[in-house]
Amino acid sequence: MKRPGVSLSIYALGAFLFLHLPLLILAAFSFNASRFTVWEGFSLRWYAGALQDSQLIEASWNSLIIAIFATVVSTIIGTLCAYGLWKRSSPVLTGSLYLSLVTPEIVTGISLLAFYQWIFRFLHVQLGMHTVILAHISFSIAYVVIVVMARLRTVDAQLEEAALDLGANEWQAFRYVTLPAILPGVIAAALLAFTVSFDDYVITSLVAGVDSETLPMVIYAIARRGVNPVVNAISAMIVVGFGALILISERLRTT
């Protein structure tokens, strides 16, 4: 087995620094006492500021509620879908799921906005939390299906046949044989759906109403006005939180 040479290793080190240093620097400066990019000593003032900001707190709650609803629904629907596709393929459904994954976010966002506005002609509702949650469910499903499908490929289909031969009905075979086998994949898919939902800005900002401002929308609004250490503090918390979720998800996918 060929080992990487010295120059390739040095290159890789540089590439990993490129990938990680910007976020590490951002996190480091969230502890800076100064408002400016000059180190003036350690301080938690930006964290205190972030945690006392009522707009940020409210937006975080909105993001959390949206992400939880979207995750639960898209995980259930996506898991059932992956299982159904495992039994027999459906090229049209698979195709539209892949298409939803490669469609640029801005196109997904404006098409949903146009669709909602059209529906609202007949129903007396407005943009709000519900429209955001529905949008998030629709773009999360493809992620769930792909992760659960990958897990299903490692499952022996004969186990279910054995269960059926032994008198289980189809639902019982799914519920007691296959589902336990793919559960780590399902949880990994749910964590992935949660981070994708919690992080989304482009689609959310187009279909959100006045009462449904999310955390990424607040961060974006502050970032447009320039750099603010409070955003560094929120970012650091998001990076650590997401990093933990994704590491757990990766563990579950590979075990």
């Binding site: 990938l19 596709l85 459904l93 539209s96 892949y98 469609t103």
Partner: protein
């Protein structure tokens, strides 16, 4: 069995039809309608929005988006290939290195873009450091230009290149590389004549996975390019908000979708879908 299977697929069919395919059908219809007096849409049916796409102002934006996405993709390939090669030769630490590639990717895209604003702006870390060191006297204009947009896109989508290239390098028969070396090929010749051609499926998949999101990028040109670096995504967003020309915005969106699907049709060969 078939009845139960239908129930498993029914909810996802319902969601895809109602919240993905129907909205696309709506903008398809809108793109052939006329702009309403106060925004929105009205009759009659017309192809005017598509004819406007040929206007030099909009052609310039399309061309610019292709150029920025193309340059970003080339950089991702040049930076990603050696990294994938390194990981494929790292034995037991492969999984660790792959996680290191993926980890920043799964942390908030918005936060990662903001991190570059923090580094590149006039009073950002890079300019501050350079001024402290006395290398420059006035801040360099690092932010709000095409270079910053390309940097942000490369940073954002590099993992999409590394993963499929790594997947093909993993499957590569190492005997072929040894044979090439035994027959007297220098490392560079082995790379360009053996390794790269054998990795073509991975390179194709990576290219498409990077190019498509770069072409439709909205957030990166918006935050790192300032108002100056307008790409297709910003044009679409603008038509639906400030300009209030929904038919034209819909037409641009569908043109973008058509390009995406064309690229997929050309680049993705049968049996290689697994790499995506």
């Amino acid at each position: 069995m078939n009845r139960l299977r239908a129930w498993f697929l029914a909810p996802s069919w319902a969601v895809m039809l109602a919240l993905f395919l129907a909205p696309l059908a709506i903008i398809l219809a809108y793109s052939f309608l006329t702009r309403g007096t106060y925004g929105g849409i009205s009759l009659p049916w017309t192809r005017e929005s598509y004819q406007r796409l040929a206007d030099p102002i909009y052609l310039a934006i399309l061309w610019r988006s292709f150029w920025i996405a193309g340059v970003s993709t080339v950089f991702c390939l040049l930076l990603g290939f050696p990294l994938a090669l390194f990981i494929s030769r790292s034995g037991k630490r492969k999984d660790l290195y792959l996680s290191l590639v993926m980890l920043p990717f799964w942390t908030s895209f918005l936060v990662r873009t903001y991190a570059w604003m923090f580094l590149l702006r006039d009073t950002g870390l890079i300019n501050t450091l350079l001024q402290k060191l006395g290398l420059i006297h006035s801040p360099l204009p690092l932010l709000y230009n095409d270079g910053a947009v390309i940097l942000g896109l490369v940073y954002g989508y590099l993992p999409f290149m590394v993963l499929p290239v790594y997947a093909t390098l993993e499957r590569l028969d190492r005997n072929l590389l040894e044979a090439s070396a035994d027959l007297g090929a220098r490392p560079w010749a082995t790379l360009t004549h053996v390794m790269v051609p054998l990795c073509a499926p991975g390179i194709r998949a990576g290219t498409i996975l990077v190019f498509i999101p770069c072409l439709g990028a909205y957030l990166t040109p918006d935050l790192l390019g300032g108002g100056k670096s307008v790409m297709i995504g910003n044009l679409i967003q603008n038509q639906f908000t400030t300009a209030r020309d929904w038919p034209f915005g819909s037409a641009v969106s569908l043109a973008l979708m058509a390009v995406v699907m064309l690229l997929l049709a050309v680049f993705v060969r049968r049996g290689e879908e697994g790499l995506l």
